[in-house]
Each structure stands twice: as structure tokens, then as C-alpha cells.
């Protein structure tokens, strides 16, 4: 079951997501990147129906880029979050997207921020959040160990604690995770946490 979780630290925000692409009992791949880099200073971690996830996050990414091309300045994180909520809300009563989103970003005056956007377009600004079955473990772990103004090391340590909980306590736990960070220098992939490496294709 898909897990996406994230938190806000001191001058940065971090999102972690599992990387398995699953169809019923079959695991298609274990290195699927579910955290999209929207623009230089925004991350969008998404979980839910795979087709909707890819379609919707790409749609948001392209529209964020379009705004920047048209207006010459990038969207703020709050604006991107509200735009995403608007798209989900408009589609909700016609053709809903079953995608849950954690949107993290860094703005120069505001600093880091993290937004929780439900698949039914509930928007809320949060300090820590999680989606999926993993949330039952991550939220409790974060409630216990999170404090505002954590350093990168402390935050990644907390992320690792959450991953340990998911691996040991969730029955069909995803084996691999990816962690991405956004801070004043941009959005970038911090690390992978792998227990299973996809076997390469055998030479012919």
C-alpha cells in the first residue's frame, strides 16, 4: 500500500514516498518515483490510483511552468497548492482524480511550507503529514519525535524511524523509499532507502 509522508524543518521541507508500482498482487516495479519536482523550489509527493497520479501531477507541473513562462515569475507554494486544490475540486463532481498530495515548497520571504491536499480537494497547511496505510504508523512516530526547527539530520532520522516502522509493522510493506528535500537552494533528491534492487535485464 502506498505511503507518502513529509514534514517541515528549519529552512527546509522533506517528503518521503514509497517507490513500488503495484497492480493487485503484482509488483510492476520497485523504483517508481512518486515525488515530482514541480519547479525549482517545489515538490509534489502523490499517492493513489497510478494513472491519475501520473496524469494529474504532470498536468500540475506543466501548468506551474506555463504560469512562469507567461508571467516571468514563479508561483508561490500557497498559490500552487490552491491551484491544485481548485483543479481537484472542479473535477470532483465530474471525473474525480483519486490522488492524495503533499506539496512542499520554499519561498524566499515565507520559508518552507507543506500542504496537505486530499483526493476530495481538502486543503490544509501542515507541519507534518502522511497518506496511506503507512500514515497510521508515521503520524504517531512524528507526533512523538517531531519538533519545529529540526535540522536536516534530525528530520531524515525521523523519516528513517518512520520507514523502519512501516517496514516492520505494515503487512504488505513497500521495500524501497525515496526522500526528497526542498530548501533555499532548490528541490533535490536526497536519498533512496532500498532493501530490494530491481534486477537488471539479462544480456542477450
Amino acid at each position: 500500500m502506498e505511503c507518502v509522508f513529509g514534514l517541515v524543518g528549519d529552512g527546509f521541507a522533506v517528503i518521503a514516498a514509497d517507490t513500488s508500482a503495484v497492480n493487485s498482487i503484482l509488483v510492476h516495479k520497485s523504483n517508481e518515483d512518486k515525488i515530482m519536482i514541480l519547479d525549482s523550489h517545489k515538490l509534489m509527493g502523490a499517492s493513489g490510483e497510478s494513472g491519475d497520479r501520473v496524469q494529474f501531477t504532470e498536468y500540475i507541473q506543466k501548468n506551474v511552468h506555463l504560469y512562469q513562462f507567461r508571467n516571468g515569475i514563479p508561483l508561490t507554494t500557497a498559490a500552487a497548492a490552491n491551484f491544485t486544490r481548485g483543479e481537484l475540486a472542479t473535477a470532483l463532481r465530474k471525473n474525480p482524480y483519486f490522488v492524495n498530495i503533499l506539496l512542499a515548497g520554499y519561498d524566499k520571504e515565507i520559508g518552507p511550507s507543506l500542504y496537505y491536499i486530499d483526493y476530495i480537494a481538502t486543503l490544509h497547511k501542515i507541519q507534518k503529514g502522511a497518506f496511506g496505510y503507512g500514515s497510521y504508523f508515521c503520524l504517531s512516530m512524528m507526533d512523538r519525535h517531531y519538533h519545529s526547527g529540526m535540522s536536516v539530520e534530525e528530520a531524515v532520522d525521523l523519516i528513517d524511524k518512520c520507514i523502519m516502522e512501516i517496514r516492520s509493522r505494515l503487512v504488505v510493506a513497500p521495500p524501497n523509499f525515496v526522500i526528497k528535500i526542498v530548501d533555499k537552494d532548490g528541490a533535490w533528491e536526497y536519498a533512496w532507502r532500498e532493501t530490494i534492487k530491481d534486477a537488471g535485464v539479462a544480456a542477450a
Binding site: R85, A89, L92, R93, Y116, D118, I120, A121, T122, L123, H124, I126, G129, S135, Y136, L139
Partner: protein, 204 residues
């Protein structure tokens, strides 16, 4: 579980002597899980008009955005703020527009009308207005709130006494409701000032 109980909410508004009070809980949940403990359910339309939206959070957010839009247009055209009675009719009309695909919200409206006479009203999700002279309630703990308000309310209370009464009634009800809680927001509005206070109840 009903769609109205998906996020959990509690709202109450009371009339005092030349003042009104409107209060809500602070929990944002997804069924049994709590997502945030600082969710704002009550929003200002203008200095003497507040609306609280109970029910499904996504519809509350969408409806609030539409109402602010309508009120801003009204302000531009009429060059004044909307009276609470007028605003209640606008909300009712907006809700009935979606009669066969409604917003899953229950609004609680409170304001000071002509001559600063306090006005409160509530309506169901399809816009059936209920004007009351004393108090109106909404949300998952509404039945409990009816009982608490009926026993604690008396007419012509001053702002401080009204604050005490509405706080006790709300806290008593949300502390017994698993879907509402994590404290309360209370607004007490008189013709000259607006006092916003946050209360601590059972933090569960």
C-alpha cells in the same frame, strides 16, 4: 458513515445584548484519523458578518470561496457591505442551486444587522433557512449542542457572559464527540470590537 461526518465539525452561534458569538472546534479529520488540530471553520465575510461551515471540508472551502467572490462583487457594485439577512439569502440560494447534487455543508451565519442588531441563522445542506432568536448549532455534535445551549442560554447576555456561556456549551458537547475536538475557536463580536479566543478542551 455519512458524508457529513467524514471530516468532523462542530459549530454554534449565540445572540447577546448588542453582540453575538460564534464558535467552532479545531479538528480536521478523515473519518477516524486526525489530520490537523488547527483547522479554521469560521471565516469573516466583513467586520460584522461571520460564517461557519460545518460538514465536508472540501465543500466548505469551495463554498467559502464562492461566497467571498459574491460578497466582493456586491461590495464593488453597492459600495457597502452586505447585511446579514441578505447574505443568508445568498447562501440559501447558492445551496439550492445544487439541489440535486448538493454541497455537503451546514452553514452557521452570525452578524450585526441594521442598528447593530445581532442576527444568527443556520440552514441545511440545500438551503432551508432557520432563523433563531437565541442560538443555532451545526456539525457532528449538533444534538448535544442543542441540549447544552438550551440549558445554559439566557437572553441579553453581555459579551463576557456570552463568551463564557458559548464556550462552556461548545466544550461540553465536543468533549463527548469523537469527531470534534482539539480545542475551540470563539469569536465574540460587538459593534466596536472583535475578540477572537482559542480554548483548550480535551485534546483528543
Amino acid at each position: 458513515m455519512s458524508i457529513f461526518e467524514y471530516n468532523g465539525s462542530s459549530l454554534v452561534a449565540m445572540v447577546g445584548k448588542n453582540c453575538f458569538a460564534i464558535a467552532s472546534d479545531r479538528r480536521l479529520g478523515v473519518q477516524l484519523q486526525t489530520i490537523a488540530t488547527d483547522f479554521q471553520r469560521i471565516s469573516k465575510i466583513h467586520d460584522k458578518l461571520y460564517i461557519g461551515l460545518a460538514g465536508l471540508a472540501t465543500d466548505a472551502q469551495t463554498l467559502y470561496q464562492r461566497l467571498v467572490f459574491r460578497h466582493k462583487l456586491y461590495q464593488l457594485r453597492e459600495e457597502r457591505n452586505m447585511k446579514p439577512e441578505t447574505f443568508a439569502s445568498v447562501v440559501s440560494a447558492l445551496l439550492y442551486e445544487k439541489r440535486f447534487g448538493p454541497y455537503f455543508c451546514q452553514p452557521v451565519i452570525a452578524g450585526l444587522g441594521d442598528d447593530d442588531k445581532p442576527f444568527i441563522c443556520t440552514m441545511d445542506s440545500i438551503g432551508a433557512k432557520e432563523l433563531a432568536k437565541d442560538f443555532v448549532v451545526g456539525g457532528t455534535s449538533s444534538e448535544s449542542l442543542y441540549g447544552a445551549c438550551e440549558s445554559m442560554y439566557k437572553p441579553d447576555m453581555g459579551p463576557d457572559e456570552l463568551f463564557e456561556t458559548i464556550s462552556q456549551a461548545l466544550l461540553a458537547s465536543i468533549d463527548r464527540d469523537c469527531l470534534s475536538g482539539w480545542g475551540a475557536h470563539v469569536f465574540v463580536v460587538t459593534p466596536t470590537e472583535i475578540k477572537e479566543r482559542t480554548l483548550k478542551g480535551r485534546m483528543d
